[in-house]
């Protein structure tokens, strides 16, 4: 194991986490820009209706519905897909930290991070149920 390169120092892990967060934000922004462009091109000249709450159509509330809408080329669906990527970024960061602490053999923080991920997934799962 000692020959395994690169060394997983705290600094190295911090660099990887930084890259992960940055990639997530860039990917999410790119998708949102694409969807936003389509949405503005098609609806930019109508009036916004945000003073009355109607709630989003069911398609835009669940992961399968959003993917369906995005694949159909709808601007709002593509934006929502980008937002899903954005929401997934911190979750991915926590999941990656588990692996990083495990490689560092920091058992205490593997347990801490698994706990955080479990609570997070519980909260996300109970909201979709």
């Amino acid at each position: 194991m000692a020959t395994l390169l690169p060394k997983w120092t705290d600094q190295y892990v911090e660099g990887l986490i930084g890259t992960l967060l940055q990639s997530g934000v860039i990917a999410a922004s790119a998708v949102v820009v694409l969807g936003g462009g389509l949405y503005l091109f098609r609806h930019g000249l109508s009036e916004p209706q945000y003073h009355v709450f109607m709630g989003e159509p069911t398609d835009l509330r669940s992961v399968p519905g959003i993917i369906r809408d995005a694949l159909a080329g709808r601007g709002r669906g593509i934006i929502q897909l980008g937002l899903l990527l954005l929401i997934a970024t911190p979750v991915a960061r926590v999941a990656f930290s588990i692996a990083a602490f495990a490689i560092q053999r920091d058992r205490l923080y593997v347990v801490v991070t698994v706990l955080v991920l479990a609570i997070l997934l519980y909260s996300l799962a109970s909201s979709q149920g």
Binding site: V13, I17, S29, G35, S46, G75, G77, G82, S123
Partner: protein
């Protein structure tokens, strides 16, 4: 007003929200929510959805820089996230069962005091404090970059900080805002963590807390793509600028800005508590 103009306006204000949010560790929600509801007449539920998106965007946008440069303390963040995520679940369960008006009012008054306490100058010498045994065992002590080179710090009063973090989580589940403020105040005032480490670690943590709530609000139909699009893009751009400024800014200035924003937020909460609006 047409959608395209509305989008431009929201995007420009979100730029400011991302800048202030990443500089103070508070996320962009404090600016996004009143801007959308009071200035643009957006329904509060859409505004809450957009505000959550803005918090995640500020957090992830600025965190890349803060983590790489060694400001955010990942172990402090991960350890305290147990308390905030648990608190957020508890807050979501309590939501709808207790009156948020009274809570807003109490929280607002407490924040007014915190705004005063946090903006006062404090000595920034942290290495002269004896290490706390629990903090040492949890490997929370660290060092961060200063103009005079890396500066070490020892974390104090871990149990009290952990409890306050639980409270921060409950507030965010219950009221949708306010968790970043409690996080920074707990780390800075209670745990004796340097101010820049406190704000950037709070910034690192708020994305996770908000992601947990975002699932709930997406399911309820609060997250509107047309509204969230300019919010997210503006906030990301603003947070990148904020992250560049923070690394060079004098701590005393950051404290003053933080105090002003917290004071404003306190007034928002008191207003909300008294009128039930916002």
């Amino acid at each position: 007003m047409k959608i395209i103009e509305f989008t431009m306006l929201v995007g420009a204000s979100s730029l400011l929200a991302g800048f202030v949010g990443s500089l103070t560790g508070l996320g962009g929600g404090i600016i996004i929510t009143p801007m959308l509801t009071l200035a643009l007449g957006v329904d509060i539920r859409y505004a809450i959805g957009a505000s959550l998106v803005s918090v995640i965007a500020t957090s992830s946008g600025a965190a890349a820089a803060y983590v790489r440069e060694g400001f955010s303390n990942i172990r402090i963040g991960m350890f305290l996230e147990i308390a905030t995520t648990l608190g957020a679940v508890a807050g979501a369960l309590l939501a709808g069962r207790i009156s948020t008006g009274a809570i807003s009012l109490i929280f607002g008054v407490a924040l007014l005091y915190s705004a005063y306490a946090a903006s006062r100058a404090r000595h920034e010498k942290f290495h002269d404090r004896a290490p706390d045994p629990l903090a040492t065992r949890l490997r929370l002590n660290g060092s961060y970059p200063t103009p005079g080179g890396p500066s070490a710090y020892n974390v104090q009063r871990v149990p009290a900080g952990f409890s306050l973090m639980f409270g921060a989580g409950v507030l965010s589940g219950l009221l949708g805002i306010g968790s970043g403020a409690v996080k920074v105040i707990a780390m800075d005032q209670v745990m004796g963590i340097p101010f820049k480490v406190s704000t950037t670690t709070s910034n690192f943590m708020i994305g996770v807390t908000a992601a947990a709530s975002a699932g709930v609000y997406l399911g309820r139909g609060y997250i509107d793509p047309g509204l969230a699009m300019p919010v997210m893009l503006g906030v990301v751009a603003g947070s990148l600028v904020g992250a560049r400024v923070l690394t060079r800014a004098k701590t005393q200035w950051l404290r003053i800005i933080f105090g002003l924003v917290i004071g404003l937020m306190a007034l928002e909460m008191i207003y909300h508590g008294l009128t039930g609006r916002l």
